[in-house]
């Protein structure tokens, strides 16, 4: 350090409250802290002393708010003056499954108004489960001249007109990512709103939309955006059109195809195959709607370096999958439909030793008459072949305790274990016992477990295990499980890192609810619906915990929904 800086730092020493004086001048401290990206680290840093708190808040450029009702936009703006990027999450996760009424809230507009005033140089906005209207999108588009990245995941309230506003006004846009939203798809003309001079787009994901887009405009757009890395098309784009796009964008790293089914001539097929294999940087492939065996072969050459393959919209059979996977040795993440059955999963175990994440979705989840799909055998087969597996989402119709015990023995590194036995309250189908021991094995063996979804017939014992062993658990989802308040009390009394707890259709009542008062302070949210909680219990909770947002809803047929949104002590760092 320069001597003059040393002198300055000595003068500033007095401002620090701790006994050990900080010898860094503010600028240096800020500079150092600006390198910190993790929110948790920043949260810790801000608690050291007043100086560090200030340095941290001045150096922060990205704020993550896991619960939009936990803090107001004014407070955020007051604390963090230099934000360029905001991530906001709104509705509870169960809104994905129609358990939250429409017009519940989580509207972004109030935030945008504040941001327009305080963060005129805002560049990125990422929303999950928020409500956003076309007016808000237009407001966004015109209020932030530097705006670069918009990502909407599971949001609703807007139409393609809003997208048109973004395309028209955001001259510096690099990312437009529209995923799984309740979007009112009026038509595809929004894509034509990108001006001819616009070349900066790097990420374009409109797979969510159903209507036809102007392919000509798309082709030109892709052609002039030479930095485009991610392109995810919607169903309306045909194979032939895909080929034309790829020819102009061999640099793509992530590709989502359109409809993967079309009658092609030999020459067209070869051109497609060639265009796909020319994408040497491609590591993620998705889309593939209606893909059948015939056309999958066109992918073989392109799959050599693939690390993420999303086949969850292609109802493949086991043989087709096996053949495809033989060409995907580097695969780390795989999403499939359960049409591939256990045999398909065996092929996964055989061909993908590096696999870290597997998601198996049900092709027909609401149909009783499906006798097939995947079973415990498929899961076990994968576990034998893929020891690095740490994230699994598995929908099945039968499971055994023994199988799960084997699985976690093979793969002890699970961080996310989401098992959905689709029949509520179904026991081990071989022994007829509850599935307690299965999840007991999971929490005992997988010490790194962060997220757990349980299913099947479960007594309070499962929750005893969870409370006792799941020391790193942050998110727990429970449905149709447990026997008494004791179950929930175990979880609330154990699980030191619990942040999100969602419960539906369980016999947990007020005693359980009220046993977690201390716990709720450090949690982001609690959801309880169709349990034994009464309004009275909710009132008690609200009384005891005045800083909590407690929302109780009666009136839905057979549901008392209690949604508590917890105010953590460190709000904006909540995640």
């Amino acid at each position: 350090m320069e001597s003059s800086e040393l002198k300055r730092s000595k003068d500033s020493v007095n401002s620090c409250e701790s006994a050990r004086r900080s010898s860094f001048p503010d600028e240096v401290l800020e500079r150092v802290l600006s390198l910190l990206k993790s929110h948790r680290d920043r949260s810790s840093v801000s608690l050291v002393c007043k100086d560090w708190y200030n340095a941290e808040r001045w150096s922060r450029t990205h704020v993550f708010i896991g619960n939009c009702y936990s803090v107001s936009p004014e407070i955020v703006a007051r604390r963090f003056p230099r934000i360029r990027s905001v991530t906001l999450k709104g509705k509870p996760r169960f809104s994905d499954f129609n358990l939250v009424p429409e017009n519940w809230g989580a509207d972004i507009h109030a935030w945008l108004v504040v941001f327009a005033a305080k963060y005129p140089f805002l560049e990125e906005l990422r929303l999950k489960r928020m409500a956003i209207s076309d007016e808000s999108l237009e407001f966004l588009a015109v209020s932030f001249p530097n705006f670069k990245a918009l990502s909407l995941l599971s949001c609703d309230g807007f139409s393609t007109n809003g997208l048109a506003a973004i395309a028209t006004h955001c001259k510096n846009l690099t990312e437009l990512d529209i995923q799984e939203n309740g979007i009112d798809d009026i038509g595809g003309s929004w894509l034509s709103c990108f001006p001819e001079s616009f070349t900066t787009l790097e990420v374009l994901n409109f797979a969510n939309l159903t209507s036809d887009i102007n392919f000509d405009a798309l082709e030109k757009l892709v052609g002039r955006c030479k930095s485009m890395k991610v392109l995810k098309l919607n169903r309306s784009v045909s194979l032939e059109q895909l080929q034309r796009l790829l020819v102009n964008a061999p640099q793509l790293a992530e590709l989502g195809t359109g409809l993967f089914s079309q009658e092609l001539t030999i020459r067209e097929y070869e051109e497609l195959e060639s265009a796909l294999s020319n994408c040497k940087n491609m590591h993620t492939l998705s889309g593939l709607w209606d893909a059948t065996g015939i056309y999958l072969t066109a992918l073989y050459l392109a799959c050599t370096h693939l690390t993420f393959l999303n086949l969850s919209y292609a109802a493949l059979q086991s043989v087709e999958l096996a053949k495809l996977l033989a060409h995907c040795p580097q695969l780390k993440r795989l999403w499939v439909l359960d049409t591939v059955e256990d045999k398909g999963l065996e092929a996964v175990g055989l061909n993908c030793p590096l696999l870290e994440e597997l998601r198996v979705f049900p092709a027909d989840p609401f149909d009783d008459e499906i006798v097939h799909g995947v079973t415990e055998a498929g899961f076990v087969a994968v576990s034998f072949g893929c020891p690095r597996l740490h994230y699994v989402l598995y929908f099945c119709r039968q499971m055994t305790n023994a199988a799960v015990a084997t699985i976690v023995q093979n793969c002890p590194d699970f961080t996310h274990f989401r098992l959905c036995i689709m029949n509520p309250g179904q026991p081990d189908y071989l022994t007829n016992e509850p599935m307690d021991e299965a999840f007991g094995a999971v929490v005992r063996t997988c010490t790194k477990l962060q997220r757990l979804s349980v299913s099947g017939l479960l007594t309070d014992l499962t929750f005893e295990y969870i409370g006792r062993y799941a020391k790193n658990l942050e998110t727990l989802s429970v449905a149709f499980a447990g026997r008494s308040d004791w179950g929930m009390q175990c979880v609330l009394g154990g699980c030191p890192k619990l942040r999100k707890l969602e419960i539906r259709d369980c016999p947990f009542g007020n005693a359980a609810l009220l046993s977690g008062l201390e716990k709720y302070e450090s949690m982001r949210s609690l959801w309880m619906s169709a349990c034994n909680v009464t309004m009275n219990g909710c009132r008690l909770l609200a009384r005891e915990m005045p800083r909590l947002n407690v929302e109780a809803r009666g009136g839905m047929p057979r549901h008392l929904s209690l949604l508590s949104e917890m105010l953590g002590t460190r709000q904006t760092e909540n995640h």
């Binding site: 169903r235 049409t339 009132r539 002590t569």
Partner: protein, 372 residues
């Protein structure tokens, strides 16, 4: 499955005086230091909403109603109770759903909607959490503490001395089956299919069991937890692949098609075909090892004549046949009745092995004679 509500006793006098008065009083900006801005929200502004709730013993609303997943009975006032809040705006915050009186803050696009719930300013430095929480005495459920949870004693009307009660009660608080459940914790499970009934729960049995508790199945909203986006997309994918423009007709008639041994069902829109032949080829493409048994129909236009060999194969049971379930629940062979009649009565399609279907033919003939 949630056991039936016994909510009636609970709601009682929810014409509680509590609701409005202090709703929001002292609950605005709260900072961790406990210096709350007790500048009260104008309680009259807030009370307009609870006034609607008061005396609103809407017993009708306690009826069990079965709604489709995601649907809400229009007459219900599903009201939101904000039991605790930070900042409250002047606009009434409840109910959330558009209710008849037009108070629907959430539908407003402005700031109010965003502030619907309270915020609490706890981020002003270091938080000392718990200590101050009890200093705030705004919530005073004086005799609430003594409430047991048996519905009989749930005199919700008894929050008299509650000047500080910040509750806007919904007229019905179907607090579920508190007392009932207490004694019989296993109740919940017994209502669920296959719970503890000791039946051998092999896969096939599960199917059978399901048929014995179909009502229970239908009522589970949001289960299995598959995102609606995904199920909608899959439904689109499994429609007839022959669709030209990918859009269903205005009066689409989707029926499920299953095939013995196939791992999943498909759905077809019968209105997109005009003959049995078209249906047959479409299904053939879908289930590529399938052959329509009889697609000649009496009196329908464009019928196809099967070759002798196919019929012979059918009789020997080596081919698959297409059958359908009609309005009466009977399984019939496809092709016996005129196409239009078929479309009108077909509820489901099934591709069976020929050998299984032999017995069907005579009945089909009889039936069509009767109905014709």
């Amino acid at each position: 499955m949630s056991p039936p509500l016994l909510g009636v006793e609970e709601e009682v006098q929810s014409n509680v005086s509590s609701p409005s008065v202090d709703c929001g009083l002292g609950l605005k900006e709260r900072n961790y230091l406990g210096l709350s801005d007790c500048s009260s929200v104008d309680s009259s502004a807030v009370s307009s909403s609870p006034d609607n709730n008061k005396n609103n013993l809407n017993l009708k609303a306690t009826e069990l109603r079965l709604g489709l997943p995601g649907s809400q009975s229009p007459e219900r006032e599903t009201e939101l109770c904000l039991l605790n809040s930070g900042k409250l705006d002047e606009k009434p915050l409840f109910p959330l759903l558009p209710s008849k009186d037009g108070i629907c803050p959430s539908s407003q696009k402005n700031v109010v909607a965003g502030n619907k719930r309270g915020f609490s300013d706890t981020m002003d430095g270091f938080s000392e959490v718990k200590g101050y929480a009890y200093a705030e005495k705004s919530w005073m459920f004086h005799d609430a503490g003594s409430d047991s949870e048996s519905p009989q004693t749930v005199g919700h009307g008894k929050y008299p001395g509650n000047s500080g009660a910040n509750v806007i009660l919904s007229a019905r608080s179907p607090g579920a089956q508190a007392s009932v459940k207490k004694d019989e914790p296993a109740n919940v499970l017994q209502k669920q299919p296959h719970a503890t009934n000791g039946i051998n729960l092999k896969q096939t049995d599960i199917s059978n069991n399901k048929s014995s508790a179909p009502a229970a199945k239908a009522q589970v909203v949001g289960w299995p937890p598959v995102r609606s986006f995904r199920t909608k997309t899959l439904a689109t994918s499994s429609k007839n692949n022959d669709e030209v423009d990918g859009k269903p007709g205005p009066a689409a008639l989707f029926v499920k098609v299953s095939m013995d041994g196939a791992p999943y069902l498909r759905k077809v829109d019968l209105t997109t075909y005009s003959t049995y032949g078209e249906l047959s080829s479409a299904l053939e493409k879908m289930f590529s090892c399938f052959t329509l048994g009889q697609c000649g129909s009496h009196g329908a236009a464009g019928k196809e004549i099967l070759s002798q060999s196919k019929l012979k194969d059918l009789l020997h049971g080596s081919e698959y046949v297409l059958t359908y379930k009609d309005k009466d629940g009977d399984w019939m062979l496809v092709g016996d009745v005129p196409w239009e009649m078929f479309v009108g009565t077909c509820k489901r399609l099934k591709i069976m092995k020929g050998s299984d279907a032999i017995g069907l033919a005579p009945r089909a003939m009889e039936k069509s004679r009767v109905t014709n």
